[in-house]
């Protein structure tokens, strides 16, 4: 469904250092500098897949997504999305894809979302029957209820994002690009959007490529992830494989009913923190169950919690470890 080969995007920006004399100098001569946003990445995505696109800020995620959607013209490389070259911006191509930008909105600020929906219906040439059916379906799946008839500016951030998704899906796209769809939302709202995306993928078989700051999004939705940094591909494969390789430990958090000193804890595993009544141990994944049993039996434990190392940490470690053979 999506084929990317040696994709490159460079652009030049005006460069100016701060300060008075620099601005006077810039008056006469403007220096330009080339930003290398994407430097030769390749991957391919099958129809119906949900793929997470990860990387730190400025890694080139959004730039890549925008090239795939035909917004940005690639400097070099080959892209195919649903059989089209996105940069040609053919009408049929644009009618096949949709993109949701979590940081921006297409809803008309002063009007109810329903008006934006109707406008998109006309723009995409959706028939009345299809429109009615899809709106009914999206209303149910996203629990839009009365939201669509309230002015967009009066909706909460989460409600607006639901309507953004609905507005982007009225033409039933086969390929969906989601750029930070859950940014700034509370945990419940994130969860319900996640459920919707999974649901939508199941029902329509749409191919979805998603970037997110929240690793929960990625681990809930994507079996496969692509990690990029500084415009280069670091990893492409199963999320589980990364976790396997990098997140070899789990965190066991303990509360004691009586103080336990550090020395005594060393016997159980790597002590990340210990201050008498509380402690955190890092132990290999496979050994967690056995360790928990021992700790409960041998120490005055009041409470125990076992947590995954957050994926942020995993990816961070991954970045510093550098590209691994995959």
């Amino acid at each position: 469904m999506i084929e990317v080969q040696d994709l490159v995007k460079h652009y030049s920006v005006a460069k100016r250092e701060g300060g008075f004399s620099n601005s006077v100098r810039a008056f006469f001569r403007r220096e330009r500098e080339t930003v290398k946003a994407v430097e030769g990445i390749s991957f391919s995505i099958q129809p119906g897949e949900i793929v997470g696109f990860l990387g730190p800020n400025g890694a080139g995620k959004t730039t890549t997504l925008k090239m795939l959607a035909g917004l940005l013209y690639p400097t070099a490389g080959r892209i195919r999305v649903a059989g089209f070259r996105p940069q040609e911006r053919k009408r049929a191509f644009l009618g096949t894809i949709a993109m949701v930008l979590g940081q921006k909105q297409q809803l008309i600020w002063d009007l109810p979302p329903a008006d934006t929906f109707l406008l998109n219906k006309e723009i995409y040439g959706v028939s009345d029957a299809d429109y009615a059916e899809r709106i009914a379906e999206l209303t149910e799946m996203l629990d839009l209820g009365g939201l669509v008839n309230r002015q967009a500016r009066k909706l909460s951030l989460g409600e607006r994002m639901k309507c953004e998704l609905a507005a982007a899906l009225i033409h039933r796209p086969k390929v969906l690009f989601l750029d930070e769809p859950t940014i700034g939302l509370d945990v419940n709202m994130q969860q319900s959007l996640r459920d919707f995306i999974a649901d939508y993928n199941r029902k329509t078989g749409a191919t979805i490529l998603l970037t997110s700051h929240y690793m929960a999004d990625v681990s809930a939705l994507c079996k496969r992830v692509i990690v990029i940094n500084r415009g280069r591909l670091l990893f492409d494969g199963d999320l589980a494989a990364i976790l396997e390789r990098m997140a070899v430990e789990k965190a066991v958090k303990l509360h004691f009913s009586a103080a336990v000193d550090r020395g005594r804890l060393e016997a159980y595993g790597k002590v990340a923190a210990a201050d008498g009544l509380e402690a955190e141990l890092h132990v290999p994944r496979g050994a967690v169950a056995a360790l928990a049993q021992r700790v409960l039996a041998e120490l005055p434990v009041a409470d125990i919690a076992i947590e995954d190392t957050p994926i942020e940490t995993v990816i961070g470690r991954f970045m510093t470890a550098g590209p691994a053979p995959s």
Binding site: T63, L72, Q87, L111, N120, Y124, G125
Partner: protein
């Protein structure tokens, strides 16, 4: 064509809904229109108090031209400014992304999104002046009106093309909200028949910057004094301008860098 009309209707239904929320804007628009009409009329009257003709034009001919000037003024500041004129802001805020994602020609979308009904008093006033002047000249015939409409359409296309070319520069230079001032500055010349200017300026404003085709040509059609050579050139220049703006837009899209990376 039918699809295009459907789109226009869908876009304008929304801008109408927005405009009707701010009814006081009608009043403001009407006052502004009266203001600029009043000053223009005053200038013409002062000139004709001291001179028999303005570049060979009578008072009523010059008045008809002024009506056309006001009409096109409103077309620029009340229509173009809110559509193609908003391109720099669309680019800076990243809203152009959503327009580019749609399977409709992006230049068309940016150019026709809004129709400001609040400009109505200004359009009506301009048409009123034009009608009055034509009646006073005795040139209010069907043929003249049809020619007038045709050349007004050419003038609007030419003005649109100039706006589109200027604003498309925003793909490279982000802060150019005021670039329309270049147009307004030159458009000031169109308040008067081109004959009111000395020879070299006349040539510049016909050949280099097509000001003659904005007001002088439609007004001479309205007055029944059209120079047929200019009459033939007008649609040609309009089509060429439209084509050029389209090509430039296509070229600029390749250099779009979107708001954030």
């Amino acid at each position: 064509m039918r699809r295009m009309l459907q789109l226009v209707r869908a876009f304008w239904a929304n801008s109408l809904a927005l405009d009707l929320e701010y009814r006081i804007d009608f009043l403001i628009s009407a006052v502004t229109a009266l203001f600029s009409f009043g000053t223009g009329l005053l200038v013409l009257q002062v000139m004709f108090r001291y001179s028999q003709s303005l570049g060979g034009w009578t008072f009523h001919q010059a008045l008809a031209l002024y009506g056309i000037y006001l009409l096109l003024e409103e077309f620029a500041s009340g229509f173009l400014a809110f559509n193609i004129g908003s391109l720099p802001e669309l680019i800076r805020r990243g809203d152009l992304d959503f327009i580019l994602l749609k399977p409709v020609n992006s230049q068309l979308q940016v150019s026709i999104r809004h129709f400001r009904i609040v400009g109505l008093p200004a359009y009506l006033l301009a048409l009123g002046i034009l009608g009055y002047a034509m009646a006073a000249m005795g040139s209010l015939t069907v043929a003249n009106v049809l020619l007038l409409i045709a050349f007004l359409a050419c003038a609007m296309v030419i003005i649109y093309a100039i706006w589109a070319l200027l604003h498309t520069l925003a793909f490279w230079l982000v802060r150019i909200e005021n670039i329309a001032q270049i147009f307004y500055a030159v458009f000031e010349v169109a308040r008067f028949p081109i004959g009111a200017f000395p020879g070299p300026m006349r040539i510049i404003f016909t050949v280099v910057i097509p000001i003659t085709f904005m007001t002088t040509v439609p007004a001479s059609a309205a007055a029944g004094i059209l120079d047929w050579r200019l009459g033939i050139a007008a649609p040609a220049i309009a089509l060429a301008g439209l084509w050029l703006s389209h090509r430039f837009w296509q070229f600029a899209l390749r250099h779009y860098t979107s708001a954030s990376s």
